[in-house]
């Protein structure tokens, strides 16, 4: 069974046409992979569908804009994967 990171990396590779082997858990979706906000909507759509969740993009963006969080917390892929795992766990609780 593939990990959450593996699934996210595959989604990003297929959605944004980025070579899969360049995507690592340490990759920052924006700073390292160059994914812009519009492409991230497609990624969020695919993640929402794949995991049966709703990534709280607006809340995350607001937290970053307010200085309450850093982009690394949500957009470094190992952190994004952890957030997805939390949302999946919360859904099942």
């Amino acid at each position: 069974m593939s990990t959450t990171f593996d699934q996210v990396a595959t989604i990003i590779a297929e959605t944004c046409d980025i070579p899969r082997d360049t995507i690592t858990p340490e990759s920052h979706a924006i700073d390292d992979l160059g994914i812009d906000s519009l492409d991230f909507l497609d990624i969020a759509f695919a993640i929402d569908k794949a995991f049966g969740i709703k990534l709280p993009l607006e809340k995350w963006t607001q937290e970053v804009n307010d200085g309450k969080a850093t982009t690394e917390q949500y957009f470094v892929l190992k952190n994004l994967s952890a957030r997805i795992d939390e949302l999946v766990a919360a859904k099942g609780a």
Partner: protein, 157 residues
């Protein structure tokens, strides 16, 4: 349809908030300067305007689902297929449904038909935000009355 004002929708014929679907009608005008260029001697409704009609149809559905508190803006168009010509004077029936309701965005599928025949379809993504100003919201509320936006759809949604 008032092409010069980008008013593509004439009336909402059905809006189901629970099912997240909408149907509208739009009459392509018999004459327009657009048809003088697209194309001389062979007037056709431009595909970009059919896409805009599908976007506006989807937009009214999203405004209803968002309880008239947020405004959707077209972000991307995918799988847009112009399957057959649309000519001046034809009555379009356009329906749309929500495929995905994300955080601050939504994805819809829309179809344009004439006499039941599918003319074009597309998958559309919208960002939505609180209305950026009172003027836009006021304009949308006025337009809602013109096209028969059912306010009770929100109240009972």
């Amino acid at each position: 349809m008032r092409l010069e004002y980008f008013q593509m929708i004439d009336r909402i014929t059905d809006l189901d908030v629970g099912q997240r679907t909408i149907a509208v009608e739009a009459q392509v005008p018999l004459t327009s300067t657009i048809f003088e260029g697209h194309f001389p001697g062979y007037p056709l409704m431009p595909g970009v305007l059919l896409t805009e009609a599908m976007a506006q149809t989807s937009g009214w559905l999203l405004i209803a689902l968002l309880k008239f508190e947020r405004m959707p803006f077209l972000a991307s168009v995918k799988e847009a297929k112009m399957r057959d010509f649309v000519t001046p004077g034809e009555l379009l029936t356009i329906d749309a449904s929500v495929v995905h309701d994300g955080s601050g965005f939504a994805v819809t599928e829309a179809k344009v038909r004439v006499d039941g025949k599918l003319k074009c379809n597309a998958t559309l993504t919208f960002r939505h935000t609180p209305f950026p100003n009172a003027d836009l919201r006021g304009h949308m509320e006025a337009m809602a009355k013109i096209i028969g936006f059912p306010q009770q759809a929100i109240a009972h949604g």
